[in-house]
């Protein structure tokens, strides 16, 4: 109790400084979100009837649920690819000299340094019917007819994984860097081989980074509108495009608003599963 006034002072000081940003968020994030929610509560486009009709429609429509399901699944696939490819990169980073570290960081950050649109068109050039991959495989005589890579789930996952890779690799690099290097040696001197050391020591201790990376990658992957639309094309419909169609093309604003809210809640649910896992792992040792 004796220290309460001092700590309250500190808190009120901090709150005052946060006010401009809080106001900004209130105006440009919370207010539109509330407006969106209000919009979603209309049963017709004219806005005459109130109710949960839009939500009922979405949740009973197999097509809509299918789009939601495939979007969430796509996120899981991209996250898995990023984790499997990103972990070795992060592991390597912690074991090479400073020169190579700079090069690795540069390669990891490269996707962030080019525009999403340019990057995505590059993937179209690579994956297309007459693209680099098909041309190479054909000239080597490995395939006769071009493979269908673009506008497929495979193509979307690969393109998204490349774009989101930094979000996975950077937290992993940080987490692996925090592990006491002697622990590797200790494990080895106690008779454990490299695999046992990896699964018993390195992986559990890097779990906070794994979870942070997965959360970021997942959230970014399923909301990547441009990549999803361009590489996915017309045949593959994911939530961001579905939403866009309803709002812009069909002018069905209440339904689009309901889709947004449902999508938002679904993403929040997945992210909170990740963070809960993170808390559990920290509770069991962690740093």
């Amino acid at each position: 109790m004796g220290t309460a006034p001092a700590s309250r002072d500190v808190t009120s000081y901090g709150m005052g400084l946060a006010a401009p940003l809080a106001l900004f968020f209130l105006l440009f994030f919370v207010a539109p979100l509330l407006q969106l929610f209000w919009l979603s509560l209309h049963n017709d486009t004219a806005g005459l009837h109130w109710g949960l009709g839009q939500y009922l429609h979405f949740l009973t429509d197999p097509f809509s649920l299918g789009v939601l399901g495939s979007t969430l699944l796509l996120g899981a696939e991209v996250t898995a690819v990023c984790l499997v490819l990103g972990f070795p990169i992060a592991w390597l980073y912690q074991r090479v000299g400073p020169k190579l570290q700079t090069i690795i960081i540069l390669i990891v950050l490269l996707p962030l340094l080019t525009s999403v649109v340019v990057r995505t068109f590059a993937w179209i050039v690579i994956l297309g019917r007459q693209g680099i991959i098909n041309a190479t495989l054909q000239s080597l005589g490995i395939i006769d007819t071009p493979l269908k890579l673009l506008y497929t789930q495979f193509g979307v996952v690969i393109a998204l994984a490349q774009v989101q890779m930094p979000l996975m690799t950077l937290p992993l690099i940080t987490a692996l860097g925090r592990i006491e290097p002697n622990l590797d040696d200790a494990s080895c001197s106690l008779g454990a081989g490299s695999w046992r050391t990896f699964f018993r020591v390195v992986l559990p201790l890097s779990l906070p980074g794994v979870i942070a990376g997965c959360t970021l990658t997942y959230a970014a992957a399923i909301t990547a509108f441009i990549t999803l639309s361009l590489v996915g094309g017309g045949q593959m419909l994911f939530m961001p495009m579905y939403l866009y169609q309803q709002a812009s093309t069909l002018q069905n604003w209440p339904f689009a608003a309901a889709i947004s809210i449902i999508f938002l809640l679904a993403v929040l649910a997945v992210v909170s599963v990740f963070t809960t896992l993170g808390r559990l792992s920290r509770g069991h040792g962690g740093a």
């Binding site: 006491e180 002697n182 622990l183 040696d185 200790a186 494990s187 080895c188 001197s189 106690l190 008779g191 454990a192 081989g193 046992r196 018993r200 020591v201 559990p204 201790l205 069991h284 040792g285 962690g286 740093a287």
Partner: protein, 364 residues
């Protein structure tokens, strides 16, 4: 005790190591360690102690030489197949595993079943006097307790050699003494061949059967604590182990066992040629420890003027300035009531015995 493997011998045979960066960290080191011995690797920071330890453990492949444990040349074995137990300076306990899981880690790696593992872990925790700590996490233990766990974990694999890298450096003084005694006790019960790396000469002298003194990657001397303290073979050993007065002088006459030296401080004394034969007329450095100097009433020895006197409890240290302007320290045991020496008093000093003054060829 089940730890006893009869204590395997360890031979470091002409080991040299040069890091890829070009640093020559260890140069032609030879050590012949008997089974069950406790050896201290003593030297200042950067002299190559950790490098040598990591070579023995198998983390570094030496550029030249061999490591032989028992009858086996282990150079081609990776660390996890050498059965060498290590206690790291920062303990390196696995932070996400409980204390008993830490202790049992090496047993799990050997595929030993869970019940046996738990029994062994408990037995070892009893041995290091932490019977009730098994369920805790490392961060819930104090430094000294973590150290004991690290010891138990290393002993659990019944290693043929136990290596400790500056194990007590992070502990405060009282705890350090406790742990030194503890390690010595465990070493006695287990009979395990033990190598302790330290830069603390008191620790080396008090714990080890034999001490290997290193400087700049080279072995300066390898002998019993009294060899190293009383019969140092190099000027470095004489000054690094214990404290000493360094007095310059010129050799008047010398044979293999004794040299007559004219000190710059103005006396002729008999000294032991400690670093090999001395030539007549050559300059030497004579080392005499503060406790090996005495005040004399006659005209032997060299003259000086008393400066500060520091009463340190059981001993009193006097600072005396000699005729050539250099200072020497004299340490007197306080037996009964010692006569306090006045500041500025004129005194004469001489070594207690000729064998207690060591003469080394002066390095320029």
């Amino acid at each position: 005790m089940a730890e006893t493997q009869g204590g395997r011998s360890l031979v470091v045979d002409a080991v040299t190591h040069r890091y890829p960066s070009g640093a020559l960290a260890v140069e032609n080191i030879n050590l012949d360690i008997k089974g069950g011995e406790i050896i201290a690797l003593l030297g200042p920071s950067g002299c190559g102690k950790t490098t040598l330890l990591r070579i023995i453990a198998g983390f570094i492949a030496q550029t030249q030489g061999r490591i032989i444990i028992g009858d086996d040349i282990v150079d081609t074995l990776p660390p996890n197949r050498r059965a060498v137990g290590i206690v790291f300076q920062n303990y390196a306990l696995f932070p996400h595993l409980s204390i008993s899981e830490n202790v049992a880690y090496g047993l799990a790696a050997r595929g030993i079943d869970k019940a046996t593992r738990q029994r062994e872990a408990q037995r070892l925790l009893d041995l290091v006097q932490l019977p009730a700590m098994g369920e805790r996490l490392p961060r819930q233990l104090s430094g000294g307790q973590q150290q004991r766990v690290a010891l138990a974990r290393a002993l659990a694999i019944k290693p043929s050699i136990l290596l400790l890298d500056e194990p007590f450096a992070a502990l405060d003084k009282n705890l350090r003494l406790d742990m030194q005694i503890e390690v010595k006790r465990l070493q006695r019960v287990s009979g395990i061949t033990t190598l302790i790396v330290t830069h603390d000469q008191e620790e080396a002298l008090s714990m080890a059967d034999r001490v290997a003194v290193l400087s700049h990657g080279k072995l300066e001397q390898f002998g019993t604590p009294s060899d190293v303290y009383d019969r140092p073979q190099t000027l470095f050993v004489n000054t690094f182990v214990g404290s000493t007065n360094r007095m310059p002088g010129v050799v008047v006459s010398a044979d293999r066992t004794a040299a007559k030296v004219r000190l710059d401080a103005g006396a002729e004394i008999i000294a032991r040629p400690a670093g090999g034969a001395l030539s007549e007329g050559g300059r030497v450095t004579v080392c005499i420890r503060p406790e090996h100097l005495q005040f004399v009433g006659d005209e032997t020895g060299f003259a000086g003027v008393v400066g500060m006197s520091l009463p340190l409890g059981a001993t009193v240290v006097h600072e005396v300035t000699t005729a050539d302007g250099s200072g020497v320290k004299v340490s007197q045991a306080r037996i009964g009531e010692t006569r306090a020496l006045e500041n500025g008093a004129a005194v004469r000093l001489a070594p207690l015995a000729p064998s207690l003054a060591n003469a080394f060829p002066a390095t320029l």
